[in-house]
Amino acid sequence: MTRSMKGLVKALALGLAAACSLAAVSGATAEELSLKGKRIGVSAIGTDHYWDLMAFKGIQDRVKELGGEVIALDAGRKDQQQIAQLQTLIAQKPDAIIEQLGNLEVLNPWLQKIRDAGIPLFTVDTATPHAINNTTSNNYNIGAEIALQMVADMGGKGNVLVFNGFYSVPVCKIRYDQLKYVLTSFPDVKIVEPELRDVIPNTVQSAYSNVTDMLTKSPEKGSIGAVWACWDVPQIGATQAVEAAGRNEVKTYGIDGSPEVIKMVMDPKSSAGAVAAQQPYEIGKTSVDNAAKYLAGQKVPPFTFVPSVLINKENAAEKGKPFLDAAEKAGVK
């Protein structure tokens, strides 16, 4: 063995040892995480959707697991109420605040106030400069993956109905922008203008009637190839509308992975083409871990990505099941 090779081996061994010890250290701290005696404020814009409820639940469960006290606030989809809750929460001076989704334009000044009051702020699925850490899925990936799946299923050409009602919600902005970016490489795939608006509440009914109207407007088979939405509740309405109209050539695409949508994608006869399934419960839990680490004086990265899985017609049977099991385990439909 030459000297340089010896050196290399030594370096590798050292590196390996260092990696092991690092792993051991981070493993140990993960176990030692504690929120004993800490009060954590949690503010969610609403919990009427599967994703929201799972993340909200994940946060609360994890805070309790770590021995902390939760102040859990659900604004019931009312911006006014969320602002009032945040204002009162600031006065309550919790040890940290975790904020989950909402309109960034409305929230940002108030998130700033949280930081001004010296309260560490963590967010779930909400990219804002005021948060110490944002825990979310890699929406850049998700957006590109679901767009590419759609383009592939369409054979690289055709018209897409796009729901774009929530561009003010950061994750939807990313996914929509990624869709647009992917489509720059496929000029034969065109978004039908004007775009559709998804709404809350009555998301499913409204998506159903929107898509039905558009299909009536373009009655020739093949004139519409796909329906895209930045989440999967409009996808439910869209899929039902496509099937009711007998236009099975149209496939639907969405993001989140609500159990009923995963089941649709698993059903070979359903028009649901694919869904990017996230792990909202894990996302909620991970954000709490980040808060706990920060409060214990550890360094926390500005964002944490929790893995997501693209479930399509080919892999649905295998990839879908763990998500359905997780939903069942958490006791949320």
Partner: protein, 343 residues
């Protein structure tokens, strides 16, 4: 009209019986009314003792600030109920007020984002609010449609126009006026809280301190008598709907300042506005809506949400308690009015 005919036909002995009955009712109502006020007081006392930080000045100012938008809207609703009479099915009611606020907020934010200044945008928002109010007035006074139905229809018109304008999206807005409302403060009280204080003072003085207000009550309480006394009933009733539209416009500016944007979903406030205006009646001996009573119930609703949060009780309870209180108050009011209410 039918009521006067009915009263004229009632016999003398019937009247005596009715008087005795109504006296009993009145006593019963008094007991229940005081009970309701005691319940309010008890809830507040509980918060004062058990909710940490409840009585701090900072927290109380927060609550006043949080109540400003609801308060301004509730004054509009109260004026309509005073002028139209407080019979829940046939009397004055403005179901469009929250949707109107949403429309005004959309107009205001859209104009600001298009680069028009505060002056023009505020004038436009107020003009739109009052126009929607005038539409209500035409439907109720001009066409004689039941206020409940007329304003329900206008609610849909306003909500539809808001959707058309904003495409159901969030319209961000910033301006010097909004900046002042958000961060301005005087004597340690924030601008938004001042807005409620000043607006309340004006409403209380106008409705309870002037002959105009007295005539308004006459119009709502006894339209026939008011007409006989030479008061123009249609004018007063129309005025209340336009005033309600004005309140919606003022509230819209406060909303945009608080949310830094106009957002969909303003219609959700309607239930709280109705609750505030109806709950306010328990603070009046004759169970009529008053501006002071409305102010108290607006603050009560605000304190309820605040106290629950400080006690770490789920916010889901607030809706339930609010609903239960409305039921209680409506029950008391119809109980107190007795035969008059069930005509």
């Amino acid at each position: 009209m039918s009521a006067t005919v009915f009263h004229a036909e009632v016999g003398v002995s019937d009247e005596k019986q009715a008087a005795a009955k109504s006296a009993r009712r009145r006593f019963g109502a008094l007991v229940v009314r005081l009970g309701a006020i005691a319940a309010f007081a008890a809830i507040m006392a509980y918060f004062v003792i058990f909710a940490p930080g409840f009585t701090s000045t900072f927290n109380l100012i927060n609550v006043v600030e949080q109540s400003a938008i609801l308060g301004v809207l509730a004054y509009g609703m109260t004026a309509v109920i005073i002028g139209g009479g407080s019979n829940v099915t046939e009397g004055g009611i403005d179901l469009s007020i929250a949707a109107n606020m949403g429309l005004c907020a959309a107009v205001y934010a859209t104009l600001l984002s298009m680069g028009y200044g505060d002056f023009l945008s505020v004038i436009a928002a107020i003009a739109v609010g009052m126009a929607v109010g005038a539409l209500n007035a035409v439907a109720v006074v001009g066409l004689g449609i039941l206020p409940l139905l007329a304003t329900l229809a206008v609610l849909n018109v306003a909500a539809g126009m808001e959707l058309t304008l904003t495409q159901n999206t969030v319209v961000g807005a910033s301006s010097p006026l909004l900046g002042l409302l958000v961060s301005g403060s005087f004597l340690g009280i924030s601008a938004l809280a001042w807005a409620l204080i000043v607006f309340s003072a004006i409403m209380i003085v106008v409705v309870h301190g002037t002959s105009f207000g007295l005539r308004l009550y006459a119009v709502g309480g006894h339209p026939e008598a008011a007409r006989a006394a030479g008061i123009s009933v249609p004018f007063y009733v129309s005025f209340t709907y336009v005033l309600s539209g004005f309140c919606a416009a003022v509230a819209s500016i406060l909303t945009v300042s608080r949310l830094s944007a106009s957002t969909p979903g303003s219609g959700e406030l309607l239930l709280s506005v109705l609750a505030a205006a109806l709950l306010g009646t328990v603070f009046s001996r004759r169970f009529v809506p008053t501006m002071g009573g409305t102010l108290l119930s607006v603050l009560f609703i605000g304190l309820l949400a605040n106290g629950f949060q400080l006690l770490n009780v789920s916010s889901y309870w607030v809706n339930g308690v609010q609903g239960a209180l409305i039921l209680l108050v409506v029950a008391i009011t119809s109980f107190a009015r007795g035969s008059e209410g069930s005509r």
